[in-house]
Amino acid sequence: MKTIALLGQPNSGKSTLYNALTGAHQRVGNWPGKTVEKAEGDFFYKEQLFRIADLPGSYGLTANSEEEVVTRDFIERGNADLVCLIVDASQLERSLFMLADFAGIHCPAMLVLNMMDVAKENGKTIDVAKIESLLGIPVLGFTASDDAEYPKFYETLEKAVENPRILSAEGIRKIADAVKDSSVERLESLLDGADFGVREHFWVASKLLENDPLVMAEVRATVSPDRFAEVEAVLKSEKSAGGLITGEAKYRWISEILRDSVVEKKNVVKLSRFDKIATHRIKGKLLAFGIMFVTLIGCMVLALPGMMIGFGLMSVSGPVVHSISESLGIWPVLESFVNGVLIGGLGLTICMTSFVFAIVFVFALVENVGYMARFSYVFDSWLSRLGLHGKAIMPLFSGLACTAGAACGTRVLDMRGQRLFAMVLLWGIPCGAKLSVVLFLATAFFGSAAPLFALVFLILIFASFYLSSKIFGGKLLPLEERVGMIMELPPYHKPQWKALLKMVGRNTWSVFKKALVIIVSASLIFWALSYSSDGNVENTVLYTIGNAIEPVTKLFGMRWQLFVSYLGGVFSKEASLGIMSTIFGSTDTAFSLISRDDAGANLAEVLSAAVSKPEALAFVFASMFNVPCVLAMGSTYREANSLKWMFAIMGYYFAISLGLAFVAYHVGLLIF
């Protein structure tokens, strides 16, 4: 097996290539000890197994963020048999910086000049053979989005593997050392005699000059203390400007290579009319909100067929299973199990997955055409206060529709820390169902004071953002990684429908599988807890537990009836109302979570009669920050790729919601 590392700047087409090569044979995990996602995939070519590691994207190889550390580590340890660098041919000069940063690491390499179609469109003629002869490694002109181009890719890959070529940093070194009394040269001589594995001394000296923390530590451990003192003296004389010296040398080297191999016509640049609006401080935000609204509606429309299948399945299967079990004379408990757990769970999973599909699809489309960066640009000033990237606005906003879908939408964020933090915030944003339940309860208990609750809820949501950033921000979004926006706004692309649909399909399928496990297990637990042979609530385990811990839950202002309803809300928002209507209302509907009847129209009356004001206050507040629902748990688990994180977020929201209930109850006791 040959291991190939994919290395390229953001937007170079790395994902497109990776997905096309590995298709469904991909695995996502975590790099050990890091909050960075690890993506690997396999493919066969001529009966040879290739493993591709999709290294986290960055613009260069200096180890400033965790992503960059992971990428660097993988490459400098010589873990790869071949490093495949992918660059954007329509912006060669800038894109090749990654190659220049890589030069000097003695690992076999090949270079893919992607987006040749765009380069051609922009009037660029690129002499690939010339670049290949100048660099001394295999170079391929390529269009990753065109299936017909792949045979060429495999050929070059084969050549690169059979005849490994190394990219030396000699060209850059000559340029850097041409300066009189160059500090790179001095540093390099100080490193004499030390062993840095696959890395040239010049490369190590450059990284020293760029103040790379990992290389610094490594050199300190390798050379004698006297030598290191000299190294530090050189670095001190350059202060932080060392990176400018090597940076300039790298770009000079690049332009030397491109001087004779690229012909382009100079064109005047202006912001396109659309971009003028899209990046406008006010119009841009309005446009973005407009697009998000359309997206939400689009999501609903796209999700509708799935929801219909899901709910249809549940309502059709009920009577069918009933008649089958009756004619066969099977135990009624089995019928309830099949209906409640198996079919109910499957139906719910289908409903949820359709939402997820819709959100993932629309987000991927927005990202694919290149509009996402404009989102970031206009919303950065808002979200950077929380330490988030501007594009987090998309998933957060869609959280108003469906927390589960929005959790999958956090994929648009590039760093895992950002994704996890966005999910933490997301759980505090009420989805449509939660909002309607909270407002229903507020109206039922407090009538015309309900708008006040809406206002308080809104304030509390922002307060929860603040709390979350205090609690989770430090770990997930390290302060030193939060820098002011320096971001590329990539050119717009035509959407690549086929690749897009494949990607969305794969993602949705994997969400479906994970969600099914979680939802069926949760359904099973709830079913077991709430099963009673005669439909009487007092014969359920839930009742027994609720009753037993009532002394504790009463502290939070919840009698067993209310606490059980609260727990039902963990399953789904509607379940919470369903339970209340059974417990407090007429008892002719059988007590069940999944095949529930609609909350009775008179539920409001019944509730306000049965529940005291302080209890009601506690319950409304508890419901505001209750855990979203099992579906959201399922997709959070899938996106975070960690049960630990899902439970951490869950525990956090339980604490907030019970804390609020506690305060509300005791304040309520005082005022009412």
């Binding site: 329509s90 400018l244 030193e480 926006m485």
Partner: protein, 75 residues
Amino acid sequence: MKNSTLGDLKVDQTGVVCKIHGDSRFISRIISIGLTPNSSFTVLQNDGRSPVLVYCRDTIIAINRKECAQIEVSL
């Protein structure tokens, strides 16, 4: 014009980067995205509040206002 920074330029003005100040983390970021001393650029948008948009090395780059003040340019 002496000592202007990136944030002072108006739309459609073209300039050359003279000096970049800041810690090495900032410098490494700005270099890797393509802005180096002696590179020329065109300002595409500068509304006085949002990050400045410049066109440099075939792409549009958005740079936060505070960071713009660390980039010395000449016309």
